[in-house]
């Protein structure tokens, strides 16, 4: 089984340890891992901000990079970026004259996977041999949950970690308030939404908040850090890499 990593810009630039953890976990499961360093950004920021021509040019670059990649799967540590390519590229190439790009994308799309989805659905593994003796809670990232319909896989993976205590917070499926550029354009509203999330995290009494999107985790950890909380955030890949 060969996997090509689709490392998001945020992980590449801000949270490289998430990429390292993905590599370690996948290799432990016997997967051959490669990284194509011609990859850049999937175009989500431009797309969500209304700049479709710019998003289209980034999508074309993404397709060029991965269409010739011989890997069986293209796996990403983000529900949001996976959803961008899998669900929203269609809207960028729905012009009648974009037929060529639709065809080229059809060679990439079926191989796109989000990290937890790949391990549970494609590898058929729930216990990756990790151990983490702490109380954790799981935050459902919105795009992972509602664009990709993934909520069960990460929980199965967490429950199979040895010595971990998964405590569900109240309404784990409500937004953390990040929302891409929304978090800076409407920072006060974004923060108000975040505070609701932080209160629910605090009520759950955990030591770690786990999620599959570094963007949500940056928002949550930014709020926890500002509030002086001792609760920490951790990407699912990092949890699964713990031994």
């Amino acid at each position: 089984m060969r996997v090509s990593l689709f490392i998001t810009c945020l992980v590449d630039q801000m949270f490289p340890e998430v990429g390292d953890a993905m590599v370690a976990t996948l290799r432990r499961l016997g997967v051959e891992v490669s990284f194509n360093d011609a990859q850049t950004c999937c175009g989500q920021v431009a797309f969500n901000s209304g700049y479709r021509p710019e998003a289209r040019s980034m999508a074309r670059h993404f397709i060029r990079v991965f269409e010739s990649d011989p890997a069986d799967f293209i796996v990403s540590p983000s529900g949001s970026c996976t959803a961008m390519a899998r669900n929203f590229y269609r809207e960028l190439f729905n012009d009648p004259d974009a037929g060529e790009w639709r065809d080229r994308f059809s060679r990439v799309r079926p191989r796109l996977r989000e990290f937890s989805e790949f391990i549970v659905n494609d590898l058929g593994v729930e216990d990756v041999g990790a151990s983490f003796p702490h109380r954790v809670t799981y935050h459902d990232a919105c795009h992972l949950l509602r664009e990709l319909g993934i909520s069960d896989q990460p929980r199965r993976l967490i429950r199979s970690v040895r010595n971990v205590d998964l405590i569900e917070m109240e309404a784990p499926d409500t937004c953390c308030g990040f929302g891409g550029t929304f978090s800076v354009k409407y920072s006060e509203i974004s923060n108000a939404i975040l505070q609701e999330k932080l209160a629910r995290i605090a009520n759950s009494g955990v030591e770690y908040v786990i999620a599959n999107d570094s963007s949500c985790l940056m928002q949550i950890s930014g709020g926890l850090s500002r509030a002086g909380s001792s609760v920490k955030t951790m990407h699912l890949a990092e949890l699964l890499a713990k031994q």
Binding site: D12, P16, D37, L145, T174, G179, F182, V184, K185, E196
Partner: protein, 470 residues
């Protein structure tokens, strides 16, 4: 990066600073979410019901001309009069002319978003006609000279204490202490209004093409009185409200109350089939005003057409994390929440309310709650693109940044270098292992409320190159 609409930001700020409003919003939206969750469990296959409703709406909206003509023919056959209004002003003019011709001085109104949309009350008052809102929430809003802050619960932002104070001040009959006293006081006042009004104005939840019926759903009974006591009933109905057949109601009457108030059934459902006695000598009249007011513009846009499927239940407002925090009035017009952010820029203009679609985290909870499964996040994204395409001069800084980012994204080495420089810049801001204060937009908007982690020494691509020795 230039900042978005200061008004929306200022209005949101005011809402977030208002502790009473925050408490009222939290209680109300939590309650509605919980009631809805409970109510939908009584439907065997909720998803299948939503799918059916969506198909009916899709079919109807795609053949709107046919069903509207059928509706009009049926209403006229039953002795009703129909007026096609292109604009809100046309609606107001028609109703004022009618009121003058019949010597109407006082009007009772039931809750209607269509008439809120066109500010009918202002027009009536300017013409010397006195409109009285008879829905309790709308009555409160009218007394307070405010605008509704929720599609189905117009006074959701007000607490019982505030309403008691308002009644004491405006009605001058003492301060009601209990909810029952508040409703009793409103009821006494409104009974007299019903008895003296010469015209009743309502909206409609549904208009059935097959039978020419107007269907109204309510809990207070004020719609019954508004349509049955005065001799003259005018229904102002957006053209998207038509459904083909009576039996389609079996779908929508199960969806609407569950999604809206979390009820299996509202206290009253009224079916109105033309004037009460279809003989001219009786003096009873029914007028159906079919209102366009921008709806045909939405209809013409295939990408946005499904925003006309909305049945105005308000479920998307209750589950929206943004609405839960800023409430309805911050949206600046009468349609708040996700559906408001979708239809306001279309019914008004992108210039006027084109910032609303950006004030969303795109979490998608609205789409899951929508009883007709409108793809609200997709509509918001489409409107964001339209806003940027229709006004290329807007936000020059952001546009330049996006272009530069797009260019770098096609040139991996430049992209990597840009990232490296940004991290080097950000590292200079680190104090105590994190960034607490950044000097420039948009980073400073982030650090106004949240910390940023200290950037690591190397990016993933640099680590990979080093570790894997490529």
């Amino acid at each position: 990066m230039t900042l978005p609409d200061p008004d929306l930001i200022q209005r949101s700020h005011a809402a977030l600073e208002n502790d009473i409003l925050q408490g009222a919003l939290k209680r109300a939206t939590d309650t509605f979410i919980e009631r809805r969750r409970e109510a939908i469990t009584s439907v065997a296959d909720w998803e299948a019901l939503r799918e059916r409703a969506r198909r009916v709406k899709e079919h109807t909206i795609n053949h709107l001309d046919y069903y509207l003509e059928q509706l009009v023919a049926k209403v006229e056959e039953r002795g009703g009069k129909v007026y096609w209004a292109r604009t809100g002003d046309d609606v107001s003019r028609y109703i004022i002319d009618l009121a003058r011709a019949r010597g109407v001085k006082s009007v009772v109104k039931s809750k209607s978003m269509a008439t809120e949309e066109i500010e009918l009350n202002h027009a009536l008052e300017a013409a010397g006609i006195n409109p009285v809102e008879t829905d309790l929430g709308e009555y409160i809003i009218q007394l307070a000279h405010e605008k509704p802050s929720h599609i189905i619960v117009p006074a959701i932002h007000k607490t019982r204490e505030q309403i008691a104070d308002l009644f004491a001040e405006k009605l001058r009959q003492g301060r009601p202490n209990e909810v029952a006293e508040i409703t009793a006081m409103a009821r006494r006042r409104l009974r007299n209004e019903f008895l003296s009004a010469e015209m009743g104005i309502t909206g409609a939840n549904f208009a059935i093409a097959e039978t020419g019926s107007i269907v109204l759903v309510e809990n207070e009974g004020n719609i019954r009185l508004s349509t049955q006591v005065p001799k003259l009933h005018v229904a102002v109905v957006g053209i998207e409200k038509v459904i083909p057949q009576f039996r389609d109601l079996s779908v929508f009457l199960r969806l609407l109350p569950r999604s809206g108030t979390g009820q299996k059934q509202t206290a009253y459902v009224s079916f109105l089939n033309g004037p009460r006695q279809a003989v001219p000598e009786s003096g009873f009249e029914f007028h159906l005003v079919l209102m366009d007011n921008g709806r045909t513009r939405i209809l013409a846009d295939e990408q946005m057409r499904e925003s006309l499927y909305c049945i105005r239940c308000g479920a998307c407002l209750n589950v929206c994390p943004v609405y839960q925090k800023i409430g309805g009035q911050a949206y600046g017009w009468i349609y708040p929440g996700p559906i408001g952010a979708v239809i306001s820029p279309q019914l008004q203009s992108l210039k006027q309310s084109g910032d609303l679609p950006f004030a969303s985290s795109l979490c998608g909870a609205c789409r899951d709650a929508c009883p007709v499964a409108i793809n609200l996040p997709d509509m918001l994204l489409a409107l964001r693109a339209k806003a940027r395409e229709s006004d290329p001069g807007r936000k020059p800084g952001e546009r330049t940044a996006m272009r530069a980012f797009g260019f770098a994204a096609r040139h991996p080495r430049l992209f990597a270098l840009g990232g490296k420089l940004m991290r080097a810049f950000a590292r200079m801001l680190v104090k105590d292992g994190r960034i607490k204060h950044a000097p420039l937009h948009p980073l400073s908007d982030w650090t106004d409320y949240r910390d940023l982690p200290a950037p690591r020494g190397k990016s993933f691509r640099e680590r990979w190159k080093k570790n894997e020795g490529e």
